[in-house]
């Protein structure tokens, strides 16, 4: 059952990803054609898209960690029951959240747009995960590799930042907009950093398995970069709030800290890729292909992140689609591609499934469609954002006129969203089939 838990988390994550991207496509078309699907307004579609994609990141990371810690980290999972409870809480809470969105019941905070009460089961489920992780990890003899440090950091800081994001419930925070916004985005910046720790830790884990050499995860360089990334998570969030009139030092601290995290990962992946032999690449061709693609996205997002961290540029890009490009580039371009690599690794490892030639071709086509349209999507966001930023600062056109001006580029963006969705279906479908066949076979044997 320990194996199934990992695979169930990942499979549910893959389904959440597909549905999340589907809602993203609907939202993009509502942006361009305001009369499109009026029955489910953008107010509902946006949180459906965001929450499902965030759920994908968590489900796939957590599923991987449960499996890897038990089978690859020289320790055993402390409890086999807690992950099952974790999964049930996650699923039931997820369903409740979706129902709330469809019924129009919101908490109204970015990212966590569900009623605040539903944060309690999420918190509890994460506690179960944390207890299980640390109880298992502390049993491991010898030094933790860097990815175990990263997972531990991600788990601890999810607790801290998730709690911080609910400080608004206290009037001291809620009734001062400057404090409320600053604390909210402080929490969110670090929260994204915490799930990045889970994802990047997973990336490093997959790399070490493909190479078959644990040394990369114990190296001084890997730890130096982990600590830089960690410092970034803690202090590099204020580029979200450069224009919020908080104290200047709040913003200046993160000006220097911000976004070195991607540079760090890029360096590690780059070093890793050069050291890989042809034979090993071919043996793990599917995870390898996705990790290399994430490398490209790391560099693109690095350039963008560094640019928008400079206040003089941020003043033009803040509040525009450039910010969305940064978010999408990170969550889809980097996180999703890394997690897809992990999903391929985990599913083939558990099911021992050999993808057929046709499936491999479909995955390959899906891979290129996905990356091509994601690039179009990303570039459209940047162009639309820059255009909007200049027009806003210029102050000659109304909001409506600006939106009309950037509408053609947003139309291209909406259609490229469909391309991303199709690419993902081609990639994800064979994986889900492999899982389905494995579970059916298992059930037959048991009965």
């Amino acid at each position: 059952m320990k194996k199934e838990i990992g695979i169930l988390f990942v499979s549910l994550g893959l389904i959440a990803l597909l549905i999340g991207i589907f809602f993203g496509c609907l939202g993009a078309f509502q942006f361009v054609y305001p009369d499109f699907l009026k029955e489910i307004s953008f107010v509902k579609i946006r949180p459906l898209h965001v929450s499902l994609v965030v759920a994908w990141i968590f489900l796939c990371s957590i599923g991987g960690i449960y499996y890897y810690i038990n089978y690859y980290c020289e320790t055993k999972l402390w409890s086999a029951r807690l992950p099952k409870i974790h999964l049930w809480i996650f699923v039931l809470t997820g369903v409740l959240i979706l129902v709330c969105y469809f019924m129009g019941r919101f908490g109204g905070r970015e990212y966590w747009e569900f009623p605040a009460i539903l944060s309690i089961p999420i918190f509890i489920s994460w506690m179960l995960f944390g207890i299980n992780y640390f109880k298992s990890a502390f049993k491991k003899a010898g030094n933790w590799p860097v990815y175990m440090w990263m997972w531990a950091t991600g788990i601890v800081f999810f607790f801290i930042t998730f709690s911080e994001s609910y400080l608004w419930l206290a009037p001291y925070f809620r009734n001062n907009l400057i404090r409320d916004l600053t604390v909210q985005w402080k929490a969110y910046g670090a929260l994204v950093g915490s799930w990045n720790m889970l994802v990047y830790g997973t990336a490093l884990f997959v790399m070490t398995r493909i190479i078959g050499d644990e040394k990369i995860a114990q190296s001084r360089l890997a730890f130096f970069m982990y600590f830089l990334g960690f410092a970034n998570l803690l202090f590099g969030w204020a580029h979200h709030i450069y224009i919020v009139p908080s104290a200047i030092w709040v913003r200046m601290v993160s000006y220097f800290m911000s976004m070195t995290e991607l540079l760090i990962l890029g360096k590690i992946i780059w070093s890793w890729k050069n050291s890989l032999s042809e034979a090993k690449r071919n043996f793990h061709i599917l995870p390898y292909r996705f990790i290399v693609a994430s490398d490209v996205w790391v560099f693109l997002n690095l350039a963008l992140a560094l640019a928008i961290s400079v206040p003089a540029i941020n003043i033009y890009t803040h509040g525009t689609h450039v910010t969305v490009a940064h978010a999408m580039g990170s969550t889809i371009g980097i996180n999703t591609i890394i997690l897809l690599a992990s999903a391929f690794f985990l599913i083939t490892d558990i099911t021992k499934h050999e993808f057929t030639r046709t499936q491999k071709i479909l995955i390959k086509i899906g891979f290129w469609i996905f990356n091509f349209y994601l690039m179009v999507f990303w570039v459209c966001l940047i162009i639309a954002g820059i255009e909007k930023g200049i027009l806003v600062i210029d102050d000659k056109l109304s909001f409506q006129e600006i939106m009309t001006q950037i509408n053609p580029i947003l139309t291209v963006l909406a259609f490229s969203g469909i391309g991303i969705f199709i690419g993902l279906i081609l990639i994800v479908y064979p994986m889900l089939i492999a899982v389905y066949n494995y579970l059916m076979k298992k059930e037959k044997v048991q009965s």
């Binding site: 942006f31 305001p34 009369d35 307004s41 953008f42 107010v43 946006r46 919101f106 908490g107 109204g108 970015e110 747009e113 030094n143 933790w144 911080e164 400080l167 009037p171 009734n175 001062n176 907009l177 400057i178 404090r179 916004l181 600053t182 604390v183 402080k186 001084r220 730890f223 130096f224 600590f227 960690f230 410092a231 803690l234 202090f235 979200h240 709030i241 224009i243 919020v244 009139p245 908080s246 104290a247 030092w249 709040v250 200046m252 601290v253 000006y255 400079v310 206040p311 003089a312 540029i313 003043i315 803040h318 509040g319 525009t320 689609h321 910010t323 969305v324 600062i393 102050d395 909001f399």
Partner: protein, 138 residues
């Protein structure tokens, strides 16, 4: 790098984080130019702003969705103001749904927007770029 060194760096960062957080929660965000306008009615308005998920489409200080305009200075913007805000809240637009708000809810939302308006400026359109890449508002 030994495990003890790793743990030492880790805990140093954690301590710095909590000190930094404490400063951000207090002196870093103490200034609020509109605090006199954060009346009980405006406080209700803020909760309504969240209840109707306005942030899905609108921004405050550029933070939120991009379907609708930034509302930070809607009340003091030329050609907009309180009456404009009330009308939109009552009827909706082609893009914005009519939420069928009660008169009381509209009053609270407007009170909140008046408070928000006084807290600062967004988007910043008049600024000077400094040599170090930072900006100063004019």
């Amino acid at each position: 790098m030994s495990t003890s060194t790793r743990r030492f760096i880790f805990w140093i960062l954690i301590v710095l984080f909590f000190i930094h957080s404490l400063l951000v929660f207090t002196i870093g965000t103490d200034e609020d130019n509109g605090k006199n306008l954060m009346t009980e009615e405006a406080q209700i308005g803020k909760l309504l702003f969240q209840k109707y998920n306005c942030t899905a489409c609108h921004q405050l200080y550029g933070l939120g969705g991009y379907m609708g305009p930034d509302l930070t200075n809607m009340i003091s913007s030329p050609g907009k103001g309180e009456i404009y805000a009330r009308t939109l809240l009552q009827t909706g637009t082609q893009r914005m749904p009519n939420f069928h708000l009660t008169e009381e809810e509209i009053n609270s939302m407007v009170a909140y927007l008046k408070y928000v308006d006084k807290t600062g400026i967004s988007p910043v359109k008049k600024f000077k770029i400094n040599f170090d890449g930072t900006i100063s508002q004019k």
